[in-house]
């Protein structure tokens, strides 16, 4: 049998079912891999003992014929999901040592499906970032290397950078991510894997440390479209503990795979091809259009005129919500406390010590745009623009079934690059943010490598709760792309 850490989830489930591998063996292989890959800094907390215990239980369930649909599959969990009894840090000093006495709905669903948790994955602090360089636990390294410079350490994208790096390098078979403005899709693109941000409301936010509540959405990251479909099926579902959770049945997403895309109309938004778009990104996008044409789909040029306002609107709405969501980190009930002479001193010093620069910046901007006298000019205006953006998509989807765009404006860049100016960093999410604002499902899949050997992803955006069409088209493109390149897994770590 081949190395278990290169298996897809569907393949592994078949081997487990056939008794050709046990959950313990599968898990042990991943634990070894996880340890060997530590140089990537993908995990904040490793839970090998817990994983082996869960794997043993999984094997027991399987012998009794009581297995769940993903029983025995070892996963990594973004450290933004609260996990009962296991530190949940949000990659922030302010939550260091916080051990939730409760479980997020998504991770509870995954547990119920029989999955094994290998550990908690690194991310940008409070999921704020596009390069996974803002983590209190240090940056995550992308397992991919430039052909031109094998020594340069590249970012894995963010905020789900630990998830993307771990999945790409086989430290886990799949991972949970969360996406607020591109935090699943952009790192998936940077690391050459598949990731889907489902429709807002598809996966419960209960127990997920909140960044921007009206945008946050959990989703899966894995090495194939099929694996993502399997994971999403287990993660999703209505949750009465989340008032924004959609009361909708979860279809078997894998049934959408392999279906024909013949006759499907694929929207190609003109606004996503600005002057100066990276030529390689433009080229891979064109190639994607060709694949779909060859499969019988029909490309249709569409216009999403409010796109230019998406980034500014997002960088008002998300910080505003974050400034309020992060008020609870005050040193009183959990997490870090820096004592002060007065209550206000305690607050100020705790929060100064506990939040990193990017989080502080966003809290301050969010506080400012909500403050008296500025609400209408900033927040309310941004919410109106948000509707324009959502309306653009709704109009487009009257004529097309899915929209194809690049996922990110570039391939992975070096750790330390783009760090001088926050706004430059934010431009990474220019193609992912509009769908976030509209709450639409967006999937990134690897489409090819650039000249320097780094993966580039393409994004498919679907109608609300039509992840099935997104998966169907993604599967067709995956087949056409035949993306088989693998990262130099542990080049940096010397494993």
């Amino acid at each position: 049998m081949s190395d278990p850490t290169t298996l897809g989830i569907a393949d592994a489930l078949r081997l487990l079912a056939d008794g050709e591998i046990s959950a313990v063996e599968l898990t042990r292989a991943h634990i070894e891999r996880m340890e060997a890959g530590r140089a990537l800094n993908a995990f904040i907390t490793e839970t090998p003992d817990l994983a082996l215990a869960q794997a043993k239980e999984s094997d027991t369930r399987r012998t009794r014929g009581e297995e769940g649909r993903l029983d025995g599959i070892p996963l990594g969990i973004k450290d933004l999901f609260c996990t009962e009894g296991v530190q949940t840090s949000a990659a922030s000093a302010i939550l260091k040592g916080f051990v939730p006495p409760y479980e997020s709905t998504v991770t509870a669903n995954l547990k119920a499906a029989g999955t094994v948790m290998l550990g908690k994955l690194n991310l940008d602090e409070f999921a704020m970032g596009s390069a996974n360089v803002t983590s209190h636990f240090g940056p995550v390294e992308n397992p991919w290397k430039r052909r031109s410079d094998k020594n340069a350490k590249l970012v894995p994208g963010g905020s789900s950078g630990g998830s993307a790096a771990a999945v790409a390098s086989g430290l886990c078979m799949g991972a949970t991510g969360t996406d607020t403005g591109g935090s699943i899709r952009q790192p998936a693109s940077f690391c050459g894997i598949v990731g889907i941000k489902p429709t807002y409301g598809r996966c419960s936010r209960f127990g997920v440390v909140a960044f921007a509540s009206s945008l946050d959405q959990p989703g899966p990251m894995a090495r194939s479209v099929e694996d993502c479909a399997l994971l999403l099926g287990a993660m999703a579902g209505h949750d009465s503990k989340d008032s924004t959770s959609a009361p909708m049945a979860v279809p078997d997403f894998t049934k959408a795979l392999g279906g024909s895309v013949k006759g499907l109309k694929v929207g190609i938004p003109t606004e996503y091809r600005p002057d100066g778009l990276n030529a390689e990104v433009a080229a891979i996008w064109d190639r994607g259009v060709e694949w779909l044409k060859e499969a019988g789909a029909e490309p249709v040029s569409i216009s999403l005129p409010a796109t230019r306002y998406a980034l500014p609107a997002y960088y008002i709405i998300a910080p505003a919500e974050c400034s309020s969501n992060l008020a609870r980190y005050d040193g009183v009930r959990f997490g870090l406390r820096v004592e002060g002479a007065t209550l206000d001193d305690l607050y100020r010093e705790t929060r100064a010590a506990g939040f990193g620069a990017e989080v502080r910046r966003r809290i301050l901007i969010g506080t400012y745009v909500l403050s008296a006298g500025y609400y209408d000019a900033y927040y309310n205006k941004a919410q109106k623009v948000r509707r324009l953006i959502a309306d653009d998509f709704a109009r487009a989807f009257q004529n097309v079934d899915v929209i194809l765009t690049p996922t990110a404006p570039s391939a992975a860049f070096g750790i330390g690059e783009k760090s001088d100016d926050p706004v430059t960093m934010w431009l990474n999410d220019i193609f992912t943010i509009p769908a976030s604002l509209a709450g639409l499902p967006g999937l990134s899949l690897p489409a090819g490598l650039n000249q320097d050997g780094l993966p580039l992803g393409l994004q498919l955006i679907g109608r609300p709760f039509d992840e099935e069409t997104v998966f169907r088209v993604a599967a067709a493109m995956e087949k056409a792309a035949d993306f088989t390149a693998k990262p130099d897994l542990f080049a940096a770590g010397g494993a």
Partner: protein, 96 residues
């Protein structure tokens, strides 16, 4: 839009984050850049457009009036920095 030191200090106070004086100028510059960046919004024509605070096309679900939670003071207090006192969280004494 440009923010001065005084405004940054006021915002930081509102957000209860201590900012050392020597950071104020740098921070004011960064925040001003961000505000300049988002300024583009003002050119969007939003006359007659309702603000959109959620994409969820549904109204608020309601739950039944049944006691289903609480009753675990130990768990609520378990993460209290420095531990709880006599079943309470504690903070520096507040004078009202």
């Amino acid at each position: 839009m440009s923010l001065d030191r005084t405004t940054v200090r006021a915002i930081a106070n509102l957000a209860r984050i201590a900012v050392p004086d020597e950071d104020l100028d740098h921070l004011a510059g960064e925040l001003s850049n961000i505000l300049t960046f988002v300024e583009d919004l003002s050119s969007a024509d939003t006359d007659g457009i309702e603000p959109m605070s959620s994409v969820a096309a549904m109204s608020l679900p309601m739950r039944d009036d049944v006691v289903t939670d609480g009753g675990y003071a130990d768990k609520v207090l378990a993460n209290a920095p420095g531990g709880a006192t006599e079943g309470f969280f504690t903070v520096p004494k507040v004078v009202e």
